[in-house]
């Protein structure tokens, strides 16, 4: 039945419409978590190039020096910062520490995540 609980509704987890900021934080943690997991696989694939010898590895490194890959790395760093800082909030609230102030915690930690992300993005994109 469409109205009953079912694992098939998992995509609705990512629907932020008409939902509170705490649900937005819940969605953000899932999106960044999935993104970081995907990156982990790509990273392992990249390390796998080492097994194919120095030429294959150097060729791959030359490819990832493309600005598109640098932008991808900025996204990975941003996702890591957001997921890590939001994870602190979830970890604390999840064991009953400051749970009544979890929304304020999210605002503060998200602001910190934005500042850190801008700093690292500037370093990676402009400093390169």
């Amino acid at each position: 039945m469409e109205n009953q609980a079912s694992a098939k509704h998992w995509l609705k987890w990512f629907d932020p419409r008409n939902r509170s900021v705490s649900t937005w934080a819940f969605i953000l943690n899932r999106v960044t978590g999935l993104g970081l997991t995907l990156y982990l696989f790509l990273h392992l694939m990249m390390l796998g190039q080492l097994a194919k010898g120095p030429e294959a590895y150097n060729g791959f490194i030359a490819l990832v020096k493309n600005p598109i890959f640098t932008f991808g790395e900025v996204l990975v760093v941003t996702a890591g910062i957001i997921h890590g800082l939001n994870g602190i909030r979830v970890g604390l609230a999840g064991v009953g520490i400051g749970a009544r102030y979890q929304r304020s915690m999210f605002y503060i930690l998200f602001l910190l995540a934005v500042i850190l992300s801008i700093y690292f993005a500037a370093k990676m994109l402009l400093g390169a």
Binding site: A5, K12, S20, F26, V95
Partner: protein, 242 residues
């Protein structure tokens, strides 16, 4: 002279075993009326086969919880002007995560059983209150109060985890357990709620607290319950050798 708006009530219609569809009813309403007033007018003047639940009309019975424009609301205290504009549409659906019996009526029997299992009692001593707005005046220590949860089921409908996990008992029964433990200090309540589909299934979306019409703060209560469960387990661990 009162202001009149033309509003379309788009109401979810579904009889048992039949595919759901939406039916539109255009009503002339006072924007200060409540959504439930509009639903009642649809039933009274347009379609007597419409099924919906209601009783007290003042947010005490918890019967009229529905999804209004995709958000869980207690329709008897939701003014029409807060959810639409003149010429606008109000989409009314049954609460999610419950089986639909007919139209806007859902089967809440499992939910009520879960609340009972949590040893919830709707009257509590005022000196056991644990949220700031529940504070009582001096000299009222021997008084009792009605606990705020009206068992409307709105929190279950809004919870993303209840949406995907049929076995999860949901926010209100967990909040009820926290209330009951706070009052009775009965460790069996903690042991019952120390389960993957009870206190530990919540994933901190706190949507239950956002939609609760009675400020029960189920999200906070679930986390407080976890803290008490952990404390109980650590105490057991430390004293088990004695």
């Amino acid at each position: 002279m009162s202001v009149k708006w033309n509003v379309t009530f788009r109401i979810s219609r579904q009889k048992s075993g039949v595919e759901r569809e939406f039916q539109d009813f255009v009503l002339e309403v006072d924007p200060n009326e409540y959504v439930l007033d509009g639903v009642e007018r649809v039933w009274a003047f347009h379609d007597r086969s419409l099924n919906y639940r209601h009783a007290c009309h003042h947010s005490t019975c918890g019967a009229c919880g529905m999804r209004v424009n995709g958000v869980e609301k207690l329709t008897c205290i939701t003014p029409i002007h807060s959810v639409t504009r003149n010429g606008g549409t109000i989409t009314v659906e049954p609460l999610r995560n419950f089986p639909v019996i007919s139209d806007l009526v859902v089967d809440m029997s499992r939910f009520y059983l879960a609340i009972d299992e949590a040893k919830f009692f709707p009257v509590a001593p005022v000196n056991k209150a644990d949220l700031p707005y529940e504070a009582h005046a001096e000299g009222q220590d021997d008084c009792e109060r009605l606990v705020d949860c009206i068992e409307c089921g709105i929190c279950i409908s809004a919870c993303p985890i209840a949406l995907t996990t049929p076995a999860y008992i949901g926010p209100a029964p967990l909040a009820a357990a926290q209330h009951a433990y706070n009052e009775l200090e009965d460790a069996s309540i903690l042991e019952l709620m120390d389960d993957v589909n009870a206190a530990w299934r919540c994933h901190h979306a706190f949507e239950c607290s956002a939609v609760c019409p009675s400020n029960v703060e189920p999200g906070w209560r679930i986390m407080d319950l976890r803290k008490r469960i952990m404390r109980h387990k650590i105490q057991n661990l430390l004293t088990s050798g004695k």
